[in-house]
C-alpha cells in the first residue's frame, strides 16, 4: 500500500502548512463571514424583513376643550404607546417651527403639528382643524405609515364629530338630553383608543409556500460560500499537485525513484494525495458553513453528487495544470493568472445567485469552475439529482480527459 503511505505523507505535509490551511479553510470562511456580517441586518427567517423605525416629532399646540378634553394630547399619547413603538420613535417639541426644522435637518422623518384649535374643532361643527404632517421627501414607507395611523384617528374623530352634531340636533329637538351627549362622546373616545391598533394598519403576510421562505441573508451568502469553496478547491488541487514538482526540485522524488517502489506507485500516491486533500477541504467547508452560517446546500444526494464532481474536477485539473509546468517558479503565474481568471469566469453565476440565469450566457461554462458552480447552485436551489446529473457528468468526463493527459505528461517526464 505504498501509494497510500505516500498520499498520507503528503496529506500530513499539507495540513502542517499554515499557508495551505489559510487558503483551504480560512479565506473561504472569512470572505463568506464578511458578507454575512455586511448583510446581517437584512432579514430573519420568519417574517421576511424588518422596517426601520420612523423618527416622529410632534408639536402639540392643542389648547384643549372643556367638552372634548385634550384630543391633541390623546393623539400624542397613543402614538407614543407601546403598540406603535416598533414603528415609530416619537418625541415632542413645543413649537411648530422647531418640528419642521427637525425634519429639514433630518433629525426626524416626520413632523406632526396639531393645531391649537384641534379639540375645539371637534365640538364646533363649523370648524375644521387639520393636523399638519410635514415629512422628509426622501422617505416613503415611514411617513406613509404615520399618515395611515393619523388618517385612522381623524376618520374616527370625524365620525365622532358627525355623531355629536346629530346628537346636538336631537337634543335641540328635545329628543335626547344634553347630558347624554357627553355619554355618547365618551363611548366614542373609548372606541377610538381601542381601535388604534397597529396590527390593523399593517398586516404583513408572506405568500403561502410549501417550504419555509429562505432568509434574504442566506439567499445572498449561500452562493458566495459555494463560490468560495469551488474557487479555493481548484487552488488546492493545483497547489497539492505542485508538490510533484517541488519534490523533484528538493530531490526527494528522485530518492523515491531509487527505492524498490514503482514509479506508477509513486505518482499514484501523489495523485491520491491531491484528491484526498481536496476531499477534506470540500467536506469541511460544507459542514463548517452549515454550522456557522446555517447554509443549506440542498438535498443530501444532490450535494454528494455535486461535491464529488467538484473534488474529482479540482484534483484532475490540478494534475493537468502542474504537468504543464517546468518548475515551481512557474507556479506563481499559474496560481495568480490561470486559476484566478478561470475561477472568476466560472463564478459569474454566483453574481446572480441563479444557475438558470442567462445574464452571462454560457460564458461560465468555458471553465470547469463554471460547471462546478452551476452544479452546486442547482443543488442549493433544491434541484433534483437528475437535474444536476448532466452538469456533473460533463464535469467528470472533462476531468478524466485532462487527468489522463496530466498523468501521461508526468510519466513521460519521469520515465
Amino acid at each position: 500500500m505504498k501509494p497510500i503511505v505516500i498520499a498520507l505523507k503528503d496529506l500530513t505535509r499539507s495540513f502542517r502548512s499554515v499557508f495551505a490551511l489559510v487558503f483551504m479553510f480560512g479565506i473561504p470562511l472569512m470572505v463568506t463571514g464578511m458578507f454575512y456580517l455586511m448583510f446581517g441586518n437584512m432579514a430573519n427567517t420568519e417574517t421576511g424583513f424588518d422596517l426601520p423605525r420612523t423618527r416622529v416629532v410632534i408639536a402639540n399646540l392643542d389648547e384643549g376643550n372643556a367638552q372634548a378634553g385634550e384630543l391633541g394630547k390623546m393623539v400624542v399619547e397613543t402614538l407614543q404607546g407601546k403598540d406603535f413603538s416598533s414603528l415609530m420613535d416619537v418625541s415632542t417639541v413645543s413649537d411648530a417651527g422647531e418640528a419642521r426644522k427637525m425634519v429639514d435637518s433630518q433629525q426626524a422623518g416626520v413632523a406632526i403639528i396639531i393645531p391649537a384649535d384641534f379639540s375645539n374643532s371637534f365640538t364646533d361643527s363649523n370648524a375644521v382643524a387639520e393636523i399638519e404632517v410635514y415629512k422628509d421627501p426622501t422617505l416613503t414607507i415611514g411617513p406613509g405609515i404615520v399618515q395611515s395611523v393619523l388618517n385612522a384617528f381623524t376618520d374616527n374623530f370625524a365620525g365622532v364629530k358627525i355623531t355629536v352634531a346629530q346628537a346636538l340636533k336631537q337634543a335641540e329637538a328635545g329628543q335626547i338630553e344634553y347630558a347624554q351627549i357627553n355619554q355618547i362622546l365618551g363611548q366614542y373616545m373609548a372606541n377610538i383608543e381601542t381601535n388604534a391598533d397597529p396590527r390593523q394598519l399593517l398586516d404583513l403576510r408572506a405568500p403561502a409556500a410549501a417550504a419555509p421562505a429562505k432568509s434574504l441573508l442566506l439567499t445572498i451568502v449561500s452562493p458566495i460560500m459555494a463560490g468560495m469553496m469551488i474557487f479555493y478547491a481548484y487552488f488546492t488541487g493545483v497547489n497539492t499537485a505542485n508538490s510533484i514538482l517541488l519534490e523533484s526540485e528538493e530531490g526527494t522524488l528522485q530518492r523515491l525513484f531509487t527505492t524498490p517502489t514503482a514509479k506508477t506507485e509513486i505518482l499514484g500516491g501523489k495523485i491520491i494525495a491531491v484528491g484526498l486533500t481536496v476531499l477534506v477541504q470540500v467536506v469541511t467547508l460544507i459542514i463548517a458553513s452549515r454550522l456557522i452560517f446555517n447554509i443549506d446546500w440542498g438535498a443530501l444526494p444532490s450535494v454528494i453528487l455535486a461535491a464529488t464532481a467538484i473534488i474529482i474536477s479540482a484534483s484532475a485539473f490540478g494534475v493537468f495544470v502542474c504537468s504543464l509546468l517546468k518548475s515551481t517558479k512557474q507556479g506563481g503565474i499559474v496560481f495568480g493568472g490561470v486559476l484566478t481568471v478561470t475561477g472568476m469566469v466560472g463564478m459569474m453565476d454566483i453574481f446572480t445567485g441563479n444557475p438558470n440565469s442567462t445574464q452571462f450566457g454560457i460564458v461560465p461554462l468555458f471553465t470547469p469552475q463554471g460547471w462546478a458552480s452551476r452544479s452546486m447552485l442547482l443543488s442549493m436551489q433544491g434541484a433534483s439529482f437528475e437535474q444536476i446529473l448532466p452538469y456533473t457528468l460533463f464535469l467528470v468526463v472533462f476531468s478524466v480527459a485532462v487527468f489522463f493527459i496530466g498523468v501521461w505528461r508526468f510519466q513521460k517526464r519521469f520515465a
Binding site: 503511505v5 500530513t12 528538493e250 530531490g251 526527494t252 528522485q254 531509487t258 524498490p260 520515465a415
Partner: protein, 319 residues
C-alpha cells in the same frame, strides 16, 4: 566471486543544443565488502555515473551496457536490485517539515519495512546517527551536519548490501566530516559495500580499498592506492637542508640504496627515492658519519594528485 556491483560499458550523452558526452564507456567492478572511491574533479562524470547506477538516469542504449547489484540486473530486475541498494545523495533529500522519526518511518516503508521491524530499525538508526534525543524535532530545524546524518540514516534503514555515497562531505564542517568518514569505515566493518564519490584526494586515500579515477567522462585508472602510484612510477621526494655546502654530502647520499637522483638548488638538496621509510635512516647515517648536520627534512610521498597530474596533465584541484 560475484561482484557486489558490476558496471559495464556505461555511456551517457546529453544533447541540449550541443552534444556532451558525460560518461564515456565506464566499466568497473566492486567486490563485496569493499570501499571503492570514484575520484575526479567537478564535471568528471561521477554524479552522472551514480545517477545511472541508481536508475535515476537511463544510460544510452547499448547492448553491451550492464549494471548489476549483487547479481540482479538494474534493467530487468530493478525492484530486487534496489532492495539491496542504499543511496545517499549529494544534496539533502529529506522532508524538512517532518521530524527525523517521521522521515525514517516513511522511507523505511518505501523500502518495504513495516510494523515492529520498522519501529525497531528506526530506533536503531536514530541511535546510530546520534539523534535519538532530537527524533521528534522537524528536520528543518536541524543543523547542516544533523541533516546529513539523517540523510545517511535513511539509506541504512533496510540494511543494504551496497551503498552509494555521492560526495557526502561537501560543504560541512571538519568535525562532521570526520564523523562521516569514520561512519563509512564502520559500514565496511559491517560488511557493506560502499561506492564513494569524491573530489577530495585525501578522502579517497584514507577510505578506499580501491580507487577509480575519472576525468571527462572516462575511467582513466583503477586500482589500489599503491597500484596507482606504481602505475605512474612516482617516487617519494625528500627535500633537506644541511649546515654546510651541499656538495660535501651529495656523493655520499648518491650511493645510498634506493636513491634515484639528487639535486642541489639554493641550499636545498632534493632526493627522489623509492621508499622514504627505508632510505631516510641511511641518509641520516651517512650525514652523521661525515659530521654533517641536517637542519630540515621535508618528505613528499607520491599521491593521487601526482597520479592525476601524470595521467591528465592537470592538477586534480585545478581541474
Amino acid at each position: 566471486m560475484q561482484s557486489a556491483l558490476h558496471v559495464q560499458n556505461l555511456h551517457k550523452t546529453y544533447r541540449n543544443g550541443k552534444t556532451l558526452k558525460a560518461v564515456d564507456g565506464v566499466s568497473f567492478d566492486i567486490q563485496p565488502g569493499e570501499i571503492f572511491s570514484l575520484l575526479g574533479p567537478n564535471g568528471a562524470g561521477k554524479t552522472t555515473t551514480i545517477s545511472m547506477l541508481s536508475a535515476l538516469l537511463q544510460p544510452d542504449a547499448d547492448a553491451k551496457t550492464d549494471i548489476a547489484i549483487m547479481g540482479y540486473s538494474l534493467r530487468s530486475e530493478a525492484r530486487a536490485a534496489k532492495a539491496l541498494l542504499g543511496v545517499v545523495p549529494q544534496e539533502i533529500a529529506l522532508y524538512e517539515d517532518l521530524s527525523a522519526r517521521e522521515n525514517l518511518d516513511f522511507w523505511g516503508k518505501m523500502y518495504g519495512l513495516t510494523g515492529v521491524e520498522l519501529r525497531k530499525r528506526v530506533d536503531e538508526v536514530l541511535d546510530l546517527i546520534g539523534l535519538t534525543e532530537r527524533a521528534k524535532d522537524r528536520v528543518g530545524k536541524y543543523s547542516g551536519g544533523m541533516k546529513r546524518r539523517v540523510n545517511i540514516g535513511v539509506a541504512l534503514l533496510h540494511r543494504p548490501k551496497v551503498i552509494y555515497m555521492d560526495e557526502p562531505t561537501v560543504g560541512i564542517d571538519p568535525q562532521s566530516r570526520r564523523s562521516i568518514l569514520d561512519g563509512v569505515v564502520a559500514l565496511k566493518k559491517q560488511g557493506m559495500t560502499v561506492l564513494y564519490t569524491t573530489h577530495y584526494m585525501e578522502e579517497a586515500e584514507e577510505l578506499s580499498d580501491r580507487i577509480g579515477i575519472m576525468d571527462h567522462g572516462k575511467m582513466i585508472a583503477t586500482g589500489t592506492h599503491g597500484e596507482l602510484i606504481q602505475m605512474v612510477g612516482q617516487k617519494s621526494r625528500i627535500t633537506m637542508t644541511v649546515n654546510t655546502e651541499g656538495e660535501k654530502i651529495i656523493d655520499g647520499w648518491r650511493t645510498a640504496v634506493g636513491v634515484s637522483s639528487i639535486t642541489a638548488d639554493d641550499g636545498k638538496l632534493t632526493l627522489l627515492v623509492d621508499d622514504s621509510n627505508q632510505v631516510l635512516p641511511r641518509l641520516f647515517e651517512i650525514a652523521a658519519q661525515r659530521k654533517i648536520r641536517i637542519t630540515s627534512v621535508d618528505i613528499q610521498e607520491p599521491n593521487l594528485e601526482s597520479v592525476f597530474l601524470h595521467l591528465t596533465g592537470r592538477a586534480l584541484r585545478d581541474a
